[in-house]
Symmetry: C2
Subunit: 479 residues, 2 copies
Amino acid sequence: MTLYQDLALRLGEHIKHGFYQIGDRLPSVRQLAQEYSVSISTVQEAYRQLEQERLVEARPKSGYFVSQPYQHDNLPTISRPPQRPLEVSQWEEVLNMLMIRSEKLGIQLQHAMPNMQAPTLKPLLKTLADLSKQHPQLGLGYGDVRGTIELREQICRLTVASGCQLHPDDLVITSGCQEALSVCLRAVAEPGDIIAIESPGFYGAMQAIKAAGLKVMEIPTHPETGISLEALELALDQWPIKAILATPTCNNPMGYTMPEEQKKRLFKLAQSYDITIIEDDIYGDISYQFPRPKTIKSFDSDGRVLMCSSFSKTIAPGMRVGWMAPGRYRDKVTHIKYVSSSMCPTLPQLAIAKFIRLGGYDKHIRQMRQHYEQQRDHMLTAINTYLPKGTRVSFPSGSFVLWVELNLPIDCLELVKTCREHGISLAPGPIFSSTGKYRNCLRINYSQLKPHERENGIRSLARLIDEFTSTKKTKSQLT
Amino acid sequence: MTLYQDLALRLGEHIKHGFYQIGDRLPSVRQLAQEYSVSISTVQEAYRQLEQERLVEARPKSGYFVSQPYQHDNLPTISRPPQRPLEVSQWEEVLNMLMIRSEKLGIQLQHAMPNMQAPTLKPLLKTLADLSKQHPQLGLGYGDVRGTIELREQICRLTVASGCQLHPDDLVITSGCQEALSVCLRAVAEPGDIIAIESPGFYGAMQAIKAAGLKVMEIPTHPETGISLEALELALDQWPIKAILATPTCNNPMGYTMPEEQKKRLFKLAQSYDITIIEDDIYGDISYQFPRPKTIKSFDSDGRVLMCSSFSKTIAPGMRVGWMAPGRYRDKVTHIKYVSSSMCPTLPQLAIAKFIRLGGYDKHIRQMRQHYEQQRDHMLTAINTYLPKGTRVSFPSGSFVLWVELNLPIDCLELVKTCREHGISLAPGPIFSSTGKYRNCLRINYSQLKPHERENGIRSLARLIDEFTSTKKTKSQLT
Ligand SMILES: Cc1ncc(COP(=O)(O)O)c(C=O)c1O
Ligand SMILES: Cc1ncc(COP(=O)(O)O)c(C=O)c1O
């Protein structure tokens, strides 16, 4: 970290912690240079960065002031999906994305992969290597189909932070959150049934709905408060919806966290229509709020909430360790989990259990939360700086992905292909819809790149969008 | 290995390789003692062991002779399952078996687990530990949903031995054979469809059929030649069967290998009724025949065979590495695999690929085949010696499980519970049926125990059967 970045970080924290209030005048450049024994230009550089992060604004002739917090005036619009149950399409597009070999990703803004270079992961990797070396036999036999007791105990501890009181017997370990979602869907619904989901929504969940022979009912979703309960209630009145599948905390792709009151109302709604909720909490632990937001599961008084999660976003997806807390569906879920892949590998479970037990996990996610929050601010700055006027962008409350809505007549499936040819990979909006909507949208990851790579990436993206729209214009002028 | 075991092994091999023919007189005890420079009693001990293995017989006053090969006169009867499609029951019993913690297994004759103490596995475990230590990052990211190319290439090489010519693109890696079976079933059939299976058959496949909302049609099965093609044809005429799921090579639980001609006829039958075959080849590589038997997949001229397998029986189930060669269902299978657990962990795949590439796998299974064949003979001897008269037992052509049919009015679900209380775990017959048939049957594993433990186990089993039948008699006399 350079001197100016360090200074910007400190000042930024003073501001975030209220040491300087909104509208306060900040120390002059000269004062700060003296106080921190750095050069004038270092302070100027630091202020410039804080300006970019929208924490500070310069007022001509009077100096620097703490600015109003981020103005959510360019959030994506509330979605308006088709108002009837539909079959999920878009598999080809998802597959295209999955098949790209990671060496070929270039500037990786595509996959929702966490930062896996973090030094705070080292103790976990060491435990795993030690176990492999010293107790390889532990990895060989069949184990408990519900997963190791060691890990289930630690997950019970973790979920206290989200307001849950679970017993190890309430949990089943899975091959990632994907298996958890798939198993829970099959446990609560029969082919032909309708599942209500947020729109836009996670493509893996939608494809699982498709594969289980279910239909999807996309519900209008607000970029700050999540699934519209009014629209959901209308849909519940009109269609025999079997379950709601939602990611209400640090949503993928929109980044919102549904306010606690809304979560309670959603649970009540499920109760009054007697349907189940599949709650995907995969990003919950990397919310930027502290303490982390409560889950809907924490209000589950009658076992109708099946919570699904994994360590794919908090640790690493390659571990393939997830879990579900299936409430009253436990027995059915255990059966389906057994038939779908029998038990999960033991060593990763034991290594993660130890990582949590010894405090490594808490430390890791504390750092990651901070890191991602900073990266979000940088990414927002880059987007606001470089992408075309009128672009709307989500304001993630956690996780490490954001949602961009271009105010241009652009087909993002085409745009993403072009970007790929130029060494930038992005997730196209339509895969987050059952019907291929959101053609003018992109999901962008901000977990992994260094600031200058990220800035370059977004700048190149801007250039490609520009070329794209102008060739299009040329083409349509020609034809 | 003691001196006499060593000697018995050598003599046994001379006999198996035809150096001595059936009926030949073998060298006298004195001759052998001189030739091998061992004591008279060592030779006597060796001959006693060969007698137990039924390779040799002593004729009073004339010495030892090569005996007739094992007489298949006490094989299980051909099965007679219900003659209509049914829903699968028996999940409770399977779950009971799965939930027992391995520390509590006592004498483990229950799980179909391979011998995982084999020194020939060491190179694999070392590679895995090295990878974990030196390249932990490889285990962290999302990989190709079809599995690593390295492993798919090696599996193509391996399957040449079973008559296949596959390309890496024809394969998808799975979390064990269980996931492969589950995915393939969902790819070829819709809820309500009927799947024909062998009877008795693998419980995991039956439970996957249940979970997918399918019905099962159990087909009479011969203990030496497998599923009855005549009965199958009748069933195909009578019911709209969608697919056949079979384990034709080293069947679990019966141990037979369907003759090649029968396999070809089965494929033709599938062609003429235009249905698919899901072929479970999980034990194929540990057939005692060399070269190993061909798969039905090897005759698959039009892509209607979906082959499923894993390294769970050849290496270790805890690795959770399996695969499928889904023929013309590849795209659908890839979709269902993706939704059911996304991709599989990378490091075990890379370690196994290297193990195969460097010849470690071939060496390992060569040894395991020999080892299991010997253990089979010991186990058969123990069973024939100790279990009640009239007991029928299968003659496995590979794998490490056998099927015992007691000629007694005994409920093996009860028997298995009693055995468990006495520190012996066994798999009860009814879990291999959709309706709870085979109540007088047990499946017994012979992969893991030392000869004396195994003998003790079978002796205790015999005693418990005896007590069980007499208390039953007493009880029924009392009531
Ligand atoms: C909301 C959400 N749920 C589930 C998953 C799948 O997680 P896993 O890799 O643990 O299967 C993802 C991964 O992208 C996700 O974003
Ligand atoms: C015939 C058969 N198929 C499939 C399986 C499941 O194998 P895996 O552990 O690789 O999922 C087994 C395991 O017992 C089996 O015996």
